[in-house]
């Protein structure tokens, strides 16, 4: 391993670290928007047995059976054909949001299916309407029970956001490739980048453990 020379990479470490912020921003935006969309999708499934239920299920089927890369590619190159020019950053966020919505809807759907029927009956007895029942009873319960799966998906999105670099976004991976193409120290820069992803992932794990404990104390 004596051939490794990290010096040129360490000189550009501030530039590389700037990519961590972009990576977290992309994943957070896409996860947040995706979760909002997933709630709508899953409510459609449980409240409607007709067209909207089928549309929601078809959406998830289509997006969980095609590569996320193809979905972002479609947003990036196909929207301009329809006269909609979206920036590379926004293209990636939109593509990842749609993909996340499909997966998160399935996760939330599994959680909703496990909500005891008595919860609905109690909410009805207390005089809550459907909207209040979802917001105050069902979704908080689903959020708590499915928290590990949701947190896991967020971490997958952090790592999966690396494909943003293909579309010219200067995220952690994009900046790593930039440094690699100018210093030719691609192995060194990828080792450092891999380390940064690992640190980010461990930090998120710790954060989610804290969140889980806080939620358990609140119940």
């Amino acid at each position: 391993m004596s051939q490794l020379n990290f010096h040129p990479v360490l000189l550009r470490l501030p530039f590389l670290l700037g990519g961590v912020g972009v990576t977290v921003l992309i994943a957070t935006l896409a996860f947040g928007l995706g979760l909002f969309l997933a709630v709508l999708l899953v409510v459609l499934r449980f409240e409607n047995k007709g067209f909207w239920c089928k549309a929601s299920r078809s959406f998830s089927t289509a997006l969980t059976n095609t590569p996320q890369l193809s979905q972002i590619f479609a947003v990036f190159y196909c929207l301009p054909l329809m006269g909609l020019m979206v920036s590379p950053f926004l293209s990636v966020v939109i593509g990842m949001t749609l993909n996340a919505a499909a997966y998160l809807a399935d996760i939330l759907g599994a959680g909703m299916a496990r909500v005891p029927p008595v919860y609905h009956e109690v909410a009805l007895t207390l005089g809550l309407n459907r909207r209040q029942t979802y917001l105050r009873v069902i979704l908080p319960h689903v959020g708590r029970t499915m928290f590990p799966a949701l947190a896991n998906h967020f971490q997958i999105m952090i790592l999966g956001s690396a494909m943003a670099s293909i579309f010219g976004v200067e995220d952690l991976t994009g900046r790593a490739y930039d440094i690699g193409s100018t210093t030719f120290r691609i192995l060194e820069v990828m080792l450092v980048t891999g380390g940064l992803y690992a640190v980010l992932s461990f930090a998120l794990t710790g954060f989610f453990v804290l969140c889980r404990r806080t939620m358990e104390r609140m119940v």
Binding site: M163, S181, T182, F184, I186, L187
Partner: protein
């Protein structure tokens, strides 16, 4: 896609280093094995592309075959991307690499170069309606450039037009498509390569501006720095090809003879 190539290149570097043999093969090892691994870009016509029979063809492929013939071994082509050329070579994934590899001082610190194959010059490629008429227009930083990551043009622009914002994509096909769709105002690169993609975007009226970049790049074959013998052998074959006119014939076969200057 291209990232997969880069990932494989990265894995190759890791695995080779882990086992302590992080270098391209020696000339004797190549001859003993009976084959030479040649890195070419398959998406960079006229240097490399898949023909109608889905076989690799192009200037680099013909030169690679001639080099292999001169060394008395079988050519085995490995397709790679612009940014994967040097990592593949450093990892020993290929023994020599082509793909429009311009000789630069930065690259010469990590790999060796053969004698030049031909010369190249940058041009500005822009949709006509962008109103770009000279390189000076790009200096203000008002025009978004679309470039290919790992190309020499990126380094050139960072030095000569540092204010110009750049969208870096992974292939010439992607870059030209993005430019045609309006994601950028111009691209600076070697017109002999990029020119092949322009007819695909025929809905755009293209402007090509030449002559702004005095330094003429020399495209060479890349080799491992330490393998002096292989470099000498490859140069010897190139000299023979130059003398008997084969190098010039291959060049004329794939390039427009009037658009660039062959190295004498």
């Amino acid at each position: 896609m291209i990232r997969i190539n880069q990932f494989l290149g990265f894995c190759a570097v890791c695995s080779v280093l882990a086992f302590g043999k992080a270098e391209a093969r020696e000339s004797a090892a190549i001859r003993a094995s009976g084959h030479i691994n040649i890195g070419v870009e398959a998406g960079l016509p006229p240097l490399g592309q898949y023909d109608v029979r889905n076989e690799l063809a192009g200037y680099d492929v013909d030169v690679g075959r001639a080099i292999a013939l001169g060394l008395g071994v079988e050519p085995r082509f490995v397709t790679l991307s612009s940014s994967g050329r040097i990592p593949y070579l450093l990892a020993g994934k290929v023994d020599i690499v082509l793909g429009g590899l311009t000789r630069t001082p930065e690259r010469a610190q990590v790999i060796a170069f053969s004698h030049p194959l031909y010369t190249e010059q940058f041009a500005i490629i822009a949709p006509k309606e962008r109103g770009i008429s000279s390189f000076t227009d790009l200096l203000s930083g008002m025009h978004q450039l679309v470039e290919v990551r790992g190309s020499t043009a990126v380094a050139y622009l960072r030095e000569h037009a540092p204010e110009a914002p750049m969208l870096l994509l992974d292939s010439y096909a992607d870059a030209i498509r993005a430019l045609a769709q309006g994601r950028g105002d111009a691209m600076v690169d070697v017109i002999e390569y990029v020119g092949h993609y322009l007819p695909v975007q025929s809905q755009v009226q293209w402007t090509v501006i030449r002559g702004f970049a005095p330094p003429v790049g020399e495209d060479c074959i890349g080799l491992a720095r330490r393998d002096v013998t292989l470099r000498a052998d490859v140069n010897h074959v190139l000299e023979a090809m130059e003398q008997d006119g084969r190098l010039e014939a291959i060049y004329r076969k794939w390039f427009d003879p009037g658009s660039a200057q062959a190295v004498p």
